[in-house]
């Protein structure tokens, strides 16, 4: 895990260093291409694994539960912050 952090920090350093080189503007596009490729591999891993494939609906329900938790938690926090810090300043 540490190695991943280190690689990213090195990346930030390189990014600051190459700011004057315009070619690096497209780094977002490179990231997308790598991500598409890795997602394809993730799909392939699911597709070749019969056990995973048959449990897709279970995984979907678990995903839905986790999403509900994430949404309820963050919306409640946003509601509190809005009430106490934002709403009273509105005209």
């Amino acid at each position: 895990m540490l190695i991943v952090f280190c690689i990213m920090v090195v990346g930030v350093g390189i990014g600051i260093g190459v700011r004057s080189i315009p070619h690096f503007r497209h780094v977002g596009k490179w990231i997308s291409i790598v991500i598409y490729f890795l997602l394809f591999l993730l799909g392939r891993e699911v597709g070749t694994n019969a056990q995973l494939l048959s449990s897709l609906s279970t995984l979907g329900i678990q995903a839905l539960l986790i999403t509900a938790g994430a949404l309820i938690g963050s919306i409640v926090c946003a509601w509190g912050i809005y009430k106490f810090f934002f709403q009273k300043h509105e005209g």
Partner: protein, 200 residues
């Protein structure tokens, strides 16, 4: 929305190629994808360092605006931790790792696949796409029931790109700056929090 379709498209293509046995099983080894992940991390870091505006806009952010992403992060982690207690198959931290995607499904599902396997990776992909779709569809209701910050919090990391138009429409244009800095800050925490919760 087009972005999510492309993402799902690549995933589905991968599933079909796996089911149809299109490629030989040694087509791309797990070892090689480890290095692709390292390249990805380096590129993500590079894009953070390269972006002058990003660091500049973070400096302009005042403390009140900062509360919004902090609320989203804490709320999401608490919510997913509670759900994690009730899902027998996954631990609390695994559930929190999925939540730490904050709608940034592509990157988070890749990380989670690498460290926790394809099952949790698939959950991360589905869960974070659901989050984005919910934020897009429910924005008007969220504003009415929970105030103008609710769609921003629901959108998570996508509040600065995919969900920005809808936030601007329903929360109002005065909330666009908040939505953008919220998106940037939440987005920045994704790789750190996901890898952190995967390390348990």
């Amino acid at each position: 929305m087009k972005g999510s379709l492309i993402i799902v498209g690549f995933f589905v293509l991968g599933v079909l190629s796996g089911v149809g046995d299109v490629f030989p099983s040694d087509f791309f080894s797990a070892n090689a994808s480890q290095y692709v992940l390292y390249v990805l991390m380096l590129l993500v870091g590079l894009s953070i360092g390269y972006d002058k505006e990003l660091i500049h806009s973070l400096r302009q952010t005042n403390w009140k605006i900062l509360l919004v992403p902090i609320g989203t992060i804490i709320g999401t982690l608490l919510g997913t931790a509670v759900v994690g207690v009730f899902i027998a198959e996954w631990s609390i931290t695994e559930s929190m790792a999925v939540g730490s995607g904050f709608g940034y499904y592509s990157l988070s599902s890749i990380f989670i696949t690498k460290y926790k396997g394809a099952a949790l990776g698939t959950i991360a992909l589905m869960s974070n796409i659901m989050r984005e779709i919910f934020a897009l569809l429910a924005a008007p209701l969220l504003v009415r029931w929970f105030g103008r910050l609710a769609p921003i919090a629901a959108a998570g990391a996508t509040s600065m790109d995919t969900c920005l138009p809808i936030i601007s429409q329903y929360s109002g244009r005065r909330y666009v700056v908040i939505a953008i800095s919220h998106g940037i800050i939440v987005d920045l925490t994704v790789p750190f929090l996901v890898t952190f919760f995967c390390s348990f």
